[in-house]
Assembly symmetry: C2
Homo-oligomer: 142 residues x 2
Amino acid sequence: MHDIHFNRDSLAETLRAHGINPTHQRIEIAYTLFSRREHLSADQIMAIVNERHSETSKATVYNTLNLFLEKGLIREVIVDPNRVFYDPNTEPHYHIYDVESGQLTDISASEVQISRLPSLPDGMVAEGMDVIVRVRRAKSAA
Amino acid sequence: MHDIHFNRDSLAETLRAHGINPTHQRIEIAYTLFSRREHLSADQIMAIVNERHSETSKATVYNTLNLFLEKGLIREVIVDPNRVFYDPNTEPHYHIYDVESGQLTDISASEVQISRLPSLPDGMVAEGMDVIVRVRRAKSAA
DNA sequence: TTTGGAATTAGACGAAGTCCAATCCGGAAC
DNA sequence: GTTCCGGATTGGACTTCGTCTAATTCCAAA
C-alpha cells in the first residue's frame, strides 16, 4: 500500500529519492514517523528519538521536519493552534479531530465525496485541501 | 442577511442575547469584528481597538475572544500555526487560504457540495467541519 | 453611598518554534 | 589513512503568542 519501507536502509533510499541527504538524525526522525504511522507533534518526535540512541537537538528536529515538509515526504496537520501534527501519510485523506482528547484520526478520501469545488480566484492554483471534522463525545442519549 | 447590527447599542443587545454581559471593552471588540466582517487575529484586534478610544489590555482581548467563541458569537479559523483568525461569520462556510500572502477568503457553503460524510466513531458527535483550500499564485503559464 | 462580585489590568510566566555562531561530521581527494 | 570542505548539527538565546495571577476597578443593586 505504500512504497516506503521501515528499516533504516530503505528509509535512507527514500530520503535520497526525495532529494534529502540521509543523515543519522534524519533517518531516526523518518523512522519514528513512518514506523508508527501516527500523527506526532515535534516534541513527541524529539522525545521518541532521544529515548532511543542518538541525541538530537530541538533545532535539528524542527529543521528536519520542515525539510521533510518542503520535499513532500510528510504533511502538516493544523488542528489546534498550539499543537501542530506531522503526518507520514501524504495520500489524499482527511481528518477527524476529537476536540476533547486531542485524538486525531484519518478519514480516507473515499469516505468523503466532495462534488462541487469553489472557483478559485484568478491566477491561483490549489495546493491542497484540508478537511477536518471536529467531534466530541456525545452527551448521554437525550 | 445577518441579524447583527453594527452600532454599539444593537451590539450590546446581541451580546446579552448570547448571555454575555456587555461591557465597554466587549462592545468595542465586537464592534471591531462585526463592522469589518474580516478575519482578524488577536493582535490585529487589539491594535484596532486601542487606536480608537479605550485602552484594552491583552488579557482582556484574549478573554473576550474566548468568551465570544464559547458563546458561539464568532468562529476560530486555524490555518497557520502562528496565525489564528477570528471570524465574525458563524454561518456555515469554508475558507480559501493563500499560503503566500496569508490572505483568507470565505467560500459560501453552497459552493462546495459534500455529499458523503464519514461515519464517526461510536458515541461521537460532529461539532463542525472545517474545509480549507490552500492556494498559491500559479507559476507563469507553463 | 456602600458594597460585592464580576471584569479588567499589568506584568510575569510558559510553550512552541526560530535564529545564530560555533562545532562537528563524513565523504571526496590525495 | 589524512586532510579538507561544506553541509549538518548543536546549545542556548531569543521571539511570539497566549495564559495566569494577584491587585485594582467598575458597576449595579441595596
